[in-house]
């Protein structure tokens, strides 16, 4: 299960956010909230390179863009679900 989650996170982290037009133009325009950036950060946390402190948790909680990406993912991934699975694993 976790192996597939890490693979999905890796695909997303290495994708240049082809889902980008789905993000609200009127919303916050923070690169960190893109699915690719959230995946990159989550991988760093899973690898123990970035601590899941308050600030990192706040960054990972910015979900507007990743929620909007679901219908537009080139690879058919449901990234909110993948991120939730990864974070659940971290917290368990």
């Amino acid at each position: 299960m976790m192996k597939q989650t890490i693979k999905d996170l890796t695909i997303c982290a290495f994708c240049p956010n082809t889902c980008r037009p789905s993000y609200q133009a009127s919303g916050p325009q923070i690169e960190t909230q893109t699915p690719s950036a959230l995946s990159l950060i989550t991988l760093a946390v899973l690898q123990g390179r970035l601590s899941l402190d308050k600030q990192t948790s706040q960054a990972l909680a910015r979900r507007d863009a990743v929620n909007a990406s679901v219908e537009r993912c080139t690879y058919g991934l449901n990234m909110p679900k993948v991120l939730d699975l990864a974070l659940q694993n971290l917290q368990s």
Partner: protein
């Protein structure tokens, strides 16, 4: 130079470095200027902005290393006036800055080398006006490319700039990197499409190039910014030429016996003053991937896709004349399936799966003249294959002109030891760029120079690089605006080298 920034390449080590009192004070001032919510300082945010889509950077991230450094912080101005104030502040405080759009560049143009401040321009994302009389659109630099094109289409227009990266790039990024779209053979590259702009110069003053079709008042100031990648100023607004959406379009798939026949046909079409919207000629390897099972390609294995558009009567004549030229070069038409596949996937990114699976994939695009293109292709093909027995090399030509064409190459090394791969990857780049220069080509057609093309910029531009450096030194004496890019002087404290 920024003080007390980390130049360590490991994220854990980087996280140990804390900001100095001076930096804390600077960040507080920026928060006051832009609003605290528009200045990001957390480790996670800085990590998200430490890269663009330079494949070399991805290889480093994949190996759990930083591409270079983390940025100091991220500032997100919401107006041109805020950009002016921010640049005046960073100049006074001697803080290095990097303009950031959507980070889709593949040459490392936005990678921080000495803990620069990233200036994310995506809050500047509004369409300002569409002028149907002058046939122009004025837009803020941070607007998403696809959202911009959709806004134009809603009014019956197109900018004709449709890069593969259109969904993941900004209009300002197109101009900063001097990009090209897939319809460039008809509409031109971005430097042909941008007719005016506003940019904040390194001293914080606003430069305006009023949107006009042509002028004769010395060298083009517009062209000093279009392609400058943020080293001479920060583009905040652009006016682009726009066109009525074509009333008609017609695609055709052709099979040529070999590349040389394809080159000759494409050259004749462009020199006959025909304006196909799309021309895509593929080498044997890239053709085979797209034509399996189509009978015409068993004898004539080279794929070419063309699309004609515009006023129906004119486009039909252009198609007819182009097909006559192709027939004279032994081409036959085939099923349109390769065209439809390209149309469905034209804005996708092909590299992600390969990079995920541990391959070392990259793309290199150069410009060559027709008189040299065939020899250039053969020399690069042989040169790259000599580097490693299992290296992939494929090419296509999708931006064609009366004088020559862009040769777009994909290279891919199989999974292997990282150090070995980086050495071979560098060798492949050096082989391609050196052959290109030896054969009088240009080392970059539309991806820009960024960080990664630095080693070849002197040969590319000769005394022109000195001219840009002198201009940079005059405008930006402290080397604060995206330092170390375009082959210009590295910032103090940078340890960047191609092979590090």
């Amino acid at each position: 130079m920024n003080t007390a920034v980390t130049t360590r390449t490991d994220l854990q080590a980087a996280s140990l470095s804390s900001k100095t009192d001076k930096q804390q004070s600077q960040l507080a001032s920026m928060a006051k200027l832009l609003g605290a919510e528009n200045v990001l300082t957390s480790q996670a945010d800085r990590y998200a902005y430490c890269r663009d889509r330079l494949p070399f950077a991805l290889y480093k991230l994949r190996a759990q290393q930083l591409p270079a450094t983390l940025p100091l912080a991220i500032a997100m101005p919401g107006t041109t006036e805020e950009v002016e104030q921010l640049i005046k502040f960073t100049r006074a405080e001697k803080i290095c800055v990097i303009p950031f759009g959507a980070g889709s560049g593949v040459l490392g143009g936005t990678i921080p080398l000495v803990g620069e401040l990233m200036i994310d321009l995506k809050r500047l994302n509004k369409m300002i006006s569409i002028n149907p009389i002058d046939s122009t659109a004025t837009v803020q630099a941070g607007m998403n490319g696809w959202q911009f094109e959709e806004a134009l289409r809603a009014q019956g227009f197109t900018a004709g700039h449709l890069p593969q990266s259109i969904t993941m790039s900004t209009v300002g990024g197109w101009a900063a990197c001097r990009g090209a779209g897939q319809a460039s053979s008809r509409y031109g590259k971005i430097e042909d499409i941008v007719v005016g702009l506003k940019a904040v110069l390194p001293d914080g003053e606003l430069l305006e190039v009023r949107p006009l079709s042509r002028r004769a008042v010395g060298p083009s100031i517009k062209d000093m910014l279009v392609g400058s990648e943020g080293v001479l100023g920060l583009i905040t607004e652009l006016t682009l030429r726009i066109w009525r959406l074509p009333e008609f379009s017609s695609a055709v798939v052709l099979a040529f016996p070999d590349i040389e026949h394809g080159f000759e046909a494409c050259r004749e079409i462009m020199q006959a003053e025909l304006r196909p919207e799309v021309v895509r000629l593929y080498d044997l390897k890239e053709s085979a991937q797209r034509t399996e099972g189509i009978p015409e390609f068993s004898v004539r294995p080279i794929l070419c896709i063309m699309k004609f558009s515009g006023k129906k009567a004119l486009a039909q004549v252009e198609r007819e004349l182009a097909l006559e030229i192709c027939a004279r070069h032994d081409a036959v038409t085939a099923d349109n399936a390769p065209y439809h596949h390209w149309e469905e996937t034209r804005f996708h990114s092909y590299s992600t799966q390969w990079q995920t699976d541990g391959y070392f994939m990259d793309t290199v695009e150069i410009t060559g003249n027709w008189s040299k293109l065939s020899d250039m292709y053969q020399a690069m093909h042989q040169g790259v294959h000599a580097i490693h027995p299992d290296i992939h090399f494929g090419a296509h030509w999708s931006h064609v002109y009366p004088e020559g064409a862009c040769q777009y190459m994909t290279i891919r090394l199989p999974p292997m030891d990282q150090d070995q791969a980086l050495t071979l990857h560098k060798k492949a780049w050096d082989t391609i760029e050196s052959i290109c220069l030896d054969m009088q080509g240009s080392i970059a057609h539309h991806h820009g120079a960024g960080l990664f093309r630095g080693p070849w910029m002197k040969r590319e531009l000769n005394h022109g690089l000195d001219m840009i450096q002198i201009l940079k030194d005059g405008l930006d004496p402290d080397n604060l605006m995206n330092p170390g890019k375009l082959g210009l002087r590295q910032p103090s404290g940078s340890t960047w080298k191609m092979d590090n």
